[in-house]
């Protein structure tokens, strides 16, 4: 029984989907190349005691970039591992030539290392849907390796693959320089062999490309393609408000009902006040926004799974070049809308180190899900919940779209300015991108992925928010037992830092909330909830928006806050990942201070401008 099995394949061949199916794990999958950027491993559910290791997709074992070198070196190191006895090489049967080139290289290298190769011929369901049959036995004879037709998506052939792994003994380790009857001695010969095999055993029908081409003719049309792109992006951001609104209302009502039921059962005093002010007002205010994060993740996932993302990258390539970026920057930037960290990881798919660095600079300015609760709160406080154009356009959704657009533009401008300062004379890496086939998104895995993202968000931010909320509540409640917030320890601290925020029209309460948000942006909402919970303790649970109105916050200050949160880099995790990916702390520290200063000065400018009499 093998102990470790290696899983390798070309980009976007369905390798990670197979990994998830064989391990029961839920690693991120999407329908465009370059999703897997790190080694992942997990125990195989069908083979006890066996670990499956997923390698990043590669077109060949001759690396082009530093990241590819790392992946290929890891693969070669794995082949020397005595615990590894099998390699599963995943082949996309709909695009056989591209996959077979890597397969032939893998078979040759694996046999030299004494590892047995099993070829998983993936996406058989696509061929079945078009009534295309292939001679897998013939291909198996030519490769001198088992070829198992499977569908990682539907589960077809997975049992057969597992049976093959259980039964097939490890290779004998003798040096082999041939693959079946195909002698391989040079790259050119490998290419010719892959070409010949694909001709003989690959699908001959044009039907697979024809259906893709019909959709591309629309989505990549000079005019319709651009309009469709803007419409899709607009619907994405509009859905954050309209799609999530019922669930947000339900969460808000649920929290209020729970508070109304729980608090009267507690003894009056510190315990009841803490539960009401810190838990229900503080943490509860943050939980209200979780449905929006769910909708955002789901819609981005739908776009990724459908194959549209690669088309969007193509459409954006030319405009992004103006700012020194590439079309491939679009995918990390849009991933950054959900969370900057996967966006930074996704930037590894950018071949050009220069453009990757510029993309790093743009990603933290994307309006991430941690900013979402802050934006949603401020928009709900200052933009009326009305519609225009016969109900087609919700004003709050439109405002959200504009805020997101502003974040995107900021990212582009920063990248453009940095690109103009770049003095590197070396030629840059050109743009080439595989266009994946369009697919109907798999809704159940996407729903699971969105729920997982929400759970992760609540778990990650919830602990910080709870901790900060407790500290803020203790400081705000004592020494007078919550009788007067203005004479609390928190007010004393807040008034010390208040002069920093006065130019933005903010009092000490908002200053404290901003200060705590440097731990995580979303803490801003929880801190405000706690502060107002103490201040309005005599009232029943009311939405935070109403308490902001009651606090007397001017609209000019609200927009200044929006500007500040749009620009400032206030996420410790993002800074750490940026340092790791860029190889030093220099870039993230520069970004932290520059974006913080720009956010603060920008917020002052907006407040002062909007406070002029002309408005």
């Amino acid at each position: 029984m093998p102990d470790r099995i290696m899983l390798i394949g070309s980009p976007n061949c369905g390798k990670t989907l197979l990994f998830n199916r064989l391990t029961g794990l839920r690693h991120k999958v999407a329908n465009f190349p370059g999703i897997t950027v790190e080694l992942a491993s997990g125990p195989m559910s069908g083979l006890s005691g066996t670990t499956l290791v997923d390698y990043p997709g590669s077109y060949s074992l001759q690396p082009l970039s530093r990241d590819e070198s790392v992946a290929v070196d890891e693969f070669k190191r794995g082949l020397r591992d005595p615990e590894v006895s099998h390699v599963i090489c995943v082949v996309d049967v709909t695009r056989m030539e591209k996959s077979l080139y890597l397969t032939l290289q893998v078979i040759r290298l694996a046999r030299r290392s004494g590892k047995r190769v099993i070829v998983a011929a993936n996406m058989i369901d696509v061929l079945d849907a078009h009534g295309i049959e292939l001679d897998f036995e013939g291909l198996s004879r030519e490769l001198d390796a088992p070829v198992i037709p499977i569908s990682a998506r539907t589960g077809i052939g997975i049992e057969r693959l597992l049976a093959q792994l259980r039964e097939a003994p490890p290779a004998d380790g003798s040096a082999v320089d041939s693959v079946g009857d195909i002698e391989i001695s040079a790259d050119l010969l490998v290419q010719q062999a892959a070409h010949g095999l694909a001709r003989r055993y690959g699908p001959r029908s044009d039907v697979l490309v024809r259906s893709q081409h019909r959709l591309d003719a629309f989505f990549l049309h000079t005019w319709f393609g651009g309009l469709a792109f803007f419409a899709i992006m607009y619907l994405l951001f509009q859905s954050i408000f309209t799609g999530a609104a019922p669930a947000m209302g339900a969460v808000e009502s649920g929290i209020a009902a729970l508070a109304d039921w729980v608090v009267p059962h507690l003894p009056a005093g510190v315990a009841a006040d803490f539960t009401s002010d810190a838990l229900f007002s503080g943490v509860g205010a943050f939980l209200v926004f979780v449905p929006q994060i769910f909708v955002l993740t789901l819609v981005v996932g739908l776009l990724e799974d459908s194959g549209y993302m690669a088309r969007a990258a193509l459409i954006c390539h030319r405009p992004l070049r103006v700012f020194g970026l590439t079309g491939k920057s679009f995918i990390p930037m849009l991933s950054g809308v959900a969370c900057a960290i996967p966006g930074v990881y996704a930037a590894r798919a950018i071949d050009s180190p220069r453009k990757r660095r510029l993309t790093y600079m743009a990603i933290p300015l994307m309006p991430c899900s941690a900013r979402l609760p802050v934006y949603a709160l401020l928009i709900a406080a200052f933009i009326p919940a009305t519609t225009a154009m016969s109900g087609l356009v919700g004003l709050q959704g439109l405002a959200m779209f504009l805020v997101y657009f502003l974040g995107l533009m900021l990212g582009l401008i920063v990248a453009g300015l940095a690109a103009r300062r770049d003095r590197d004379p070396a030629p840059d890496v050109p743009f080439v991108l595989e266009m994946p086939p369009y697919r109907m998104p798999a809704l159940v895995p996407l729903l699971r992925q969105s729920l997982h993202r929400c759970r992760h968000f609540v778990a990650k931010a919830g602990g910080v928010i709870l901790g900060v909320t407790v500290v803020v509540w203790v400081l705000g409640y004592f020494p007078n037992g919550g009788a007067d917030l203005q004479s609390s320890w928190l007010a004393a601290i807040g008034r010390t830092i208040e002069p920093i925020f006065t130019p933005l029209g903010l009092d000490w309460r908002y200053g404290v909330a901003i200060l705590t948000s440097f731990l995580a942006r979303e803490v801003f909402v929880g801190t405000l909830g706690t502060i107002f919970g103490i201040e309005f303790a005599e009232e029943n649970m009311v939405p935070l928006v109403e308490r902001i109105h009651a606090s007397g916050l001017e609209a000019a200050s609200g927009f200044a806050l929006l500007a500040f949160f749009s620009m400032a880099l206030m996420c410790v995790s993002t800074l750490v990942i940026l340092a790791r990916e860029s190889g030093s702390w220099k870039l993230p520290l520069k970004m932290f201070f520059a974006y913080g200063a720009a956010g603060y000065l920008g917020a002052i400018a907006i407040y002062q401008l909007l406070s002029l009499d002309i408005f």
Binding site: S60, E97, H195, T222, F431, V432
Partner: protein, 92 residues
């Protein structure tokens, strides 16, 4: 200048850059010009853009966007910086 040679070809095989291949036209890759670094031509070959392979231009979106090409059963988009250095001739 774009080469408008329909699939099925002609006797004369003018050599042009892939970037200038007309929409829905097919050609055969005959090489890479000297301006293309070796590592890029190698990677393109691995992806299927190797000498002797048939390539079809599927789409030419406007505004200088990358163009869409098909080799074998795979579709790629290439920008001008790359496609201008791939030499093709009409597919006979």
């Amino acid at each position: 200048m774009d080469m408008q040679v329909p699939a099925g070809g002609a006797d004369v095989k003018p050599e042009i850059a892939l970037w200038h291949l007309g929409k829905n036209c097919r050609a055969v890759i005959i090489g890479f010009d000297g301006a293309m670094p070796l590592e890029y031509s190698s990677r393109l070959s691995e992806m299927g853009f190797h000498i002797g392979e048939s390539v079809t231009c599927l789409l030419r979106p406007g505004f200088g966007c990358p163009r869409v090409y098909r080799v074998s059963n795979t579709v790629y988009s290439l920008d001008e910086d790359l496609a201008a250095h791939i030499r093709v001739a009409a597919d006979a």
